[in-house]
C-alpha cells in the first residue's frame, strides 16, 4: 500500500554517499548544516594517453631506451616522458603536473591534476550513522509533508504560502519577491504562470498538482519543483495544508528522490502534533485517511468506513478489492483499494 507521511515530530534520515570510495569527513553525533561536506574522494582531473611507438615513430624494440620515466612516477609540467633522438628529436612532455598511471604496449597514460568529488548534506541535522569509506546518514526530527512527484532538484529556503490571485488584473505584475524561497501556490499553474513564478528565482516551487503540459518545463527548469498529489487539477489535503501553514516563514528543506520521483518538505524541530517513537507502519484500515487517485474524485480526501472481503465489480467491468469511503462532503463511495493513497497523518477537523 503506497502512502505519504504528513506529520510533525517525524524522524527523517538521509543517506549521503559517494559513488566511489573516499574519505568520510564527519563523525557520529556531529551536527551538520545544509551544504556541509560529508565525504570526499580525490580523483585525477584528466587523463592523457600517449602512444609512444606510433607518435614518436620508434621501433618497438627501442621503446625502453626512449622512455624517460617509469610507471607510477610523479611528473612535473614540462618533464620529458619519452624522447626519440636522431636527426630530428621528438619529445613527449607532461603538459601538467601528474603521475604516470600506466605504461603498456608502448602507450603511456598520465593522470593529471586532481579534483575533489564531494557529497554534501542536503539537510541540517545530526550524523546518526557512518558508511565507512563512502559517507554517512544524517537525521533530524521535524515536520514532514511528502509529495508524489518532483523534478529531481532539492532546495532549502524560507517557506511561503503564496496568496496571489493570478486571475485578478489588479494584481498582474505584483507577484511578491520570492528569491531564495520555497513557495507553495494553490492556484492552477499554467505555463505562463509557472514562468512568472520561476522568473522570481525561488529556490523551490510546491504545487498541489501539476498540469501535464507543465511536466517538460518543470523537468528542464533549474528551480526545484514538487507536486504533492501528482497531475491534473487537484487540491492539497487539509493535513498537508495545516502543516504547510505551520511552515510559513520558517527555513525548510525540499528533498527530491530524483526526477519523476517523490519528494518531501521538511521543517526541522518539534512542535505541533507529535508522533509516537517506533510507531507502527501505516496500514490501511477502517478509519484510515486516504486520498482518492481516480476521476471523478481525483485528489479528494476521504475516510475508510469499510473494507469488504469480497471483490467488487466496477463500472469499467473490472473486479477488484474495494473500500467504502466517506468523502469530506459526507457522500459514501466504493473505490478499488488500489486507487487509494494512504495519508499517514493525524486527522484535522
Amino acid at each position: 500500500m503506497k502512502k505519504v507521511i504528513i506529520r510533525s515530530g517525524q524522524p527523517v534520515f538521509r543517506q549521503v554517499r559517494l559513488p566511489q570510495p573516499g574519505t568520510v569527513l564527519v563523525r557520529t553525533g556531529q551536527n551538520v548544516e545544509v551544504g556541509d561536506v560529508v565525504a570526499e574522494a580525490v580523483i585525477p582531473e584528466k587523463f592523457q594517453v600517449f602512444d609512444v611507438v606510433n607518435h614518436l615513430r620508434i621501433q618497438p624494440g627501442r621503446l625502453e631506451q626512449s622512455l624517460k620515466r617509469l610507471n607510477g612516477e610523479e611528473v612535473r609540467k614540462g618533464d620529458v616522458i619519452a624522447q626519440k633522438t636522431g636527426m630530428i628529436t621528438r619529445i613527449f612532455r607532461a603538459s601538467q603536473d601528474g603521475r604516470i598511471v600506466s605504461l603498456r604496449e608502448g602507450r603511456v597514460t598520465l593522470a593529471m591534476g586532481e579534483q575533489k568529488l564531494q557529497v554534501r548534506s542536503p539537510i541540517s541535522g545530526t550524523v546518526v550513522e557512518l558508511i565507512p569509506g563512502f559517507g554517512a546518514v544524517v537525521g533530524l526530527t521535524g515536520s514532514l509533508v511528502q509529495g508524489v512527484w518532483s523534478n529531481g532538484l532539492s532546495a532549502s529556503g524560507s517557506f511561503t504560502l503564496l496568496n496571489f490571485d493570478f486571475t485578478d488584473p489588479q494584481q498582474r505584475g505584483r507577484l511578491p519577491e520570492l528569491e531564495g524561497k520555497i513557495v507553495y501556490s494553490g492556484a492552477v499553474i499554467t505555463l505562463e504562470r509557472f514562468r512568472l513564478l520561476t522568473a522570481k528565482n525561488p529556490a523551490g516551487i510546491v504545487l498541489p498538482s501539476l498540469v501535464p503540459s507543465l511536466v517538460r518545463e518543470a523537468l528542464r527548469c533549474s528551480t526545484a519543483v514538487m507536486s504533492l498529489n501528482g497531475f491534473g487539477d487537484q487540491e492539497a489535503d487539509p493535513s498537508s495544508m495545516g502543516l504547510m501553514a505551520a511552515m510559513q516563514d520558517h527555513e525548510i528543506f525540499l528533498l527530491s528522490d530524483g526526477a519523476g520521483l517523490s519528494a518531501e518538505l521538511i521543517m526541522p524541530g518539534e512542535g505541533g502534533q507529535s508522533s509516537d517513537l517506533f510507531e507502527e507502519e501505516g496500514i490501511l484500515g477502517v478509519g484510515s485517511l486516504v486520498r482518492l487517485l481516480g476521476e471523478p474524485y481525483l485528489g479528494n480526501t476521504a475516510k475508510v468506513l469499510e473494507l469488504p472481503e469480497e471483490m467488487e465489480r466496477f463500472a469499467s467491468g473490472l473486479t477488484a478489492k474495494a473500500a467504502i469511503v466517506e468523502r469530506q462532503d459526507g457522500t459514501l463511495i466504493h473505490v478499488p483499494v488500489a486507487n487509494l493513497l494512504l495519508l499517514d497523518s493525524i486527522p484535522t477537523d
Binding site: 503506497k2 570510495p21 587523463f47 593522470a111 501535464p212 501528482g230 469499467s316 473490472l318 477488484a320 488500489a338
Partner: protein
C-alpha cells in the same frame, strides 16, 4: 513428501512465487502467491516480503520453506525443502551498459541485441572504427556512469590494435576509479585477445568471458555469451539490491533476468512447435512492455518503456474508443505511472488505459524491429512474419476482459495469416524458464496441462478488394449433428465466430481471388481447425494498415464498434 520445485520472480511491482509438485506422475502447478516488491532500503523489508511470500506458498503445499519461527533459513538445512529454486528478477533500474566494438554492423548492433534480454540500458557505445584518440576514448569511458562493459567485435585472428588499446583503457577505468558498485566486464569478441584482456584488466571475478558471438562474418550467435552475461547480471544485482545475496545463499539459487527466463520457454516452444512459425510473447508490466520472439531458432527480445510525451500521448489518444480531451488523457497517463497498481474503475479510465496499452505495445514491437530486422514488424503494416502462438501476459491485476485484451493485441500487433492467441494469466512462462535447467520435463508437463488460456484463433485477410466488397466466405462445421453455418466477410469487417461450446470447430476458408488468408497464396483456401477458446474465431478483414477515420468521434466509434463485435 513429494518432490517440489519453487520458482520466484522479483518483478517491478509484485514478487511472485509458484510451487510445482508431481501429481499422478506429471509436474503441475500446486500454488501461487504474490507480495508487493520492495527492494529499497537496507534489505530488511525485502527479506520480510520474501518471508511473507514463502509463508503463503508454504500453506499451499506440503513443503518447508521457512524455519520453525517463520524466518528465512538455508534450504540446505531444511527438511522437505524444494529440490531447487529458480529465481528471476526484473525489479531495479536497468543496468547501465557500455558497448565496445569494432564496427556498427558486425559488433555494436549484435551487442545491442545481446544486452536487450538482460534489462540493460545502453548509455555508451564505443565504435573503434570512429578512430577516437585514446585520450578521448578513455574520457568517455570514465565519464559515463557505466555498470557493465561489453567488449565484442573482431573476427578470431583479426585486427587487434584497436581492441588492445580499449582493453588498456578499461584496465584504467576499472582500477583507477573504484566504485561502490564494482562494474562488470563481459568479453565476447576476438578470442585471440581473451587471455590478453584477462591478464591486462585483472578484474578477477568481475570479468566474464564467452566465445566470440560473431561466429562468421555477418553471422552471430548471441547464445554463446548468455552464460557470461548471466554471471555479470547476478554480480551486479547482488551489489545493487540489499538482501539479494543472502536470499540467493539461503535458497541455494542463482538469479536471472525475468525476460531471459521467459525467453527460454519461448525459444523452447518455437523449437518444439514444428509449424515453421515463430513464437511471440508480449508481456505488459505497469511501466514497460517486454516482447520476446523466437523464430528460426533465434531468440529476439526487448523490454521497452514508452516515454510520456506529446507525440506518444497524441498517438495513444487516437487509439481510444471513447473521445477524451487531451488534458484528461495526459493526466491519467501521468498519474498512472506514479501509481502502477491503479485499477481503472470507470469506462473513461478503461478506454484511456487500453489506448495507452495499444500504443505501448506498438512502440515496443517497433523497437524490437529497430533492434533486430529479422523480427518482421512494421507500425502500419503489422507483423509480416508468421508467429503462432502469440502469447499475451500481464503482471499484476488483469486490466481487461479476454476480448478486450485480444482487441488491444490485435490492433497493436496486426498479424497476417492465421494464428492463435493465448493468455498466460499466471505468468508461468517466467516461472518455468528459471526452473527449466533443473528439471527439463517440468515446463513441458506443466504446459501440457493446458495452463494457458486459449483466447482466440485469428484469421487475417489481406486483400486488394475495395472496402465493403466480399473478401472471404467461411463454412463452419461444428460437428456432424450441427447445422453448417456460412459467413461472408467483407473488406473492412471484423467478425467473431463463437466456439465456446465446442472442443474444436472446423472452418473452410474460401477467399476471393485477391484475398490472402495465409495459406500460401491469394485465392487459396482450405480447412482450418479452431480449438475451443474464450473469444472464438476472429476474422479480421480490416486490412493493413487499419483504415481509421480521421475525425475523433468517428474514429472512436469505429474502434468501439470493433470492440463491440468481439464482445463489448
Amino acid at each position: 513428501m513429494p518432490k517440489t520445485y519453487l520458482s520466484l520472480d522479483i518483478g517491478k511491482s509484485q514478487t511472485q512465487a509458484w510451487l510445482f509438485t508431481q501429481q499422478k506422475g506429471a509436474w503441475a502447478l500446486r500454488g501461487r502467491a504474490s507480495v508487493p516488491t520492495v527492494i529499497e532500503g537496507d534489505g530488511s523489508q525485502f527479506k520480510r516480503g520474501i518471508q511473507q511470500l514463502l509463508s503463503q506458498i508454504q500453506r499451499k503445499g506440503e513443503v518447508n520453506l521457512l524455519d520453525d519461527r517463520g524466518h528465512l533459513t538455508s534450504f540446505r538445512r531444511l527438511e522437505d525443502a524444494p529440490a531447487a529454486v529458480g529465481l528471476s528478477l526484473s525489479a531495479g533500474k536497468p543496468i547501465q551498459a557500455a558497448l565496445i566494438g569494432l564496427s556498427e554492423a558486425y559488433s555494436i548492433a549484435p551487442l545491442r541485441r545481446l544486452v536487450s534480454l538482460f534489462n540493460c540500458e545502453v548509455v555508451l557505445e564505443v565504435n573503434l572504427q570512429e578512430n577516437l584518440n585514446e585520450t578521448t576514448q578513455l574520457e568517455r569511458l570514465l565519464t559515463s556512469d557505466v555498470e557493465l562493459y561489453i567488449i565484442g567485435g573482431g573476427a578470431n585472428g583479426g585486427a587487434q590494435n584497436a581492441l588492445k588499446a580499449v582493453i588498456e583503457n578499461l584496465r584504467l577505468v576499472y582500477h583507477l576509479l573504484p566504485r561502490a558498485i564494482r562494474p562488470q566486464i563481459v568479453f565476447c569478441g576476438n578470442q585471440d585477445l581473451a587471455k590478453y584482456a584477462q591478464s591486462e584488466i585483472e578484474a578477477g571475478l568481475d570479468m566474464h568471458f564467452s566465445s566470440n558471438i560473431q561466429i562468421n562474418p555477418g553471422q552471430e550467435d548471441q547464445s554463446l555469451a548468455w552464460k557470461a552475461m548471466l554471471a555479470a547480471f547476478e554480480r551486479l544485482r547482488i551489489q545493487q539490491i540489499p538482501g539479494l545475496g543472502d536470499l540467493l545463499s539461503d535458497l541455494n539459487a542463482s538469479v536471472i533476468p525475468s525476460d531471459y527466463s521467459a525467453g527460454r520457454i519461448v525459444r523452447f516452444l518455437e523449437r518444439s512447435g514444428g509449424n515453421g512459425k515463430g513464437v511471440l510473447l508480449v508481456r505488459s508490466d505497469a511501466d514497460s512492455v517486454s516482447v520476446l520472439a523466437a523464430r528460426d531458432q533465434k531468440l529476439m527480445g526487448i523490454c521497452h518503456r514508452l516515454e510520456i510525451n506529446d507525440a506518444s500521448l497524441e498517438a495513444a489518444r487516437g487509439l481510444s474508443n471513447l473521445v477524451t480531451d487531451p488534458t484528461s488523457f495526459a493526466t491519467y497517463v501521468h498519474n498512472r505511472r506514479l501509481f502502477p497498481d491503479y485499477v481503472p474503475a470507470t469506462l473513461e479510465d478503461l478506454s484511456i488505459e487500453h489506448a495507452w496499452e495499444r500504443e505501448r505495445i506498438r512502440e515496443a514491437l517497433a523497437s524490437l524491429q529497430a533492434l533486430d530486422p529479422d523480427f518482421g514488424y512494421n507500425l502500419s503494416q503489422g507483423l509480416g512474419n508468421a508467429y503462432e502462438p502469440i502469447i499475451l501476459s500481464r503482471t499484476g491485476t488483469q486490466l481487461s476482459a479476454p476480448h478486450q485484451g485480444l482487441m488491444i493485441a490485435l490492433d497493436s500487433i496486426l498479424p497476417h495469416g492465421i494464428t492463435t492467441f493465448l493468455q498466460d494469466e499466471q505468468q508461468l512462462l517466467t516461472a518455468l524458464g528459471s526452473l527449466a535447467p533443473f528439471e527439463p520435463l517440468l515446463p513441458v508437463q506443466v504446459m501440457d496441462g493446458e495452463v494457458f488460456t486459449n483466447l482466440a484463433t485469428v484469421i487475417n485477410v489481406d486483400t486488394s478488394v475495395p472496402e465493403g466488397q466480399l473478401a472471404l466466405q467461411i463454412e463452419v462445421n461444428e460437428g456432424e449433428k450441427m447445422t453448417r453455418l456460412y459467413h461472408k466477410i467483407q473488406t473492412g469487417e471484423l467478425k467473431r465466430i463463437e466456439t465456446q461450446g465446442n472442443e474444436k470447430t472446423e472452418l473452410y476458408l474460401s477467399p476471393e481471388e485477391e484475398s490472402d488468408v495465409g495459406m500460401g497464396m491469394p485465392g487459396l483456401g482450405g480447412w482450418v481447425t479452431a480449438l475451443r477458446s474464450k473469444v472464438g474465431v476472429v476474422v479480421d478483414g480490416r486490412g493493413r494498415p487499419l483504415n481509421l477515420p480521421s475525425g475523433e468521434d468517428s474514429r472512436a466509434k469505429t474502434l468501439h464498434d470493433w470492440l463491440w463485435e468481439l464482445g463489448g
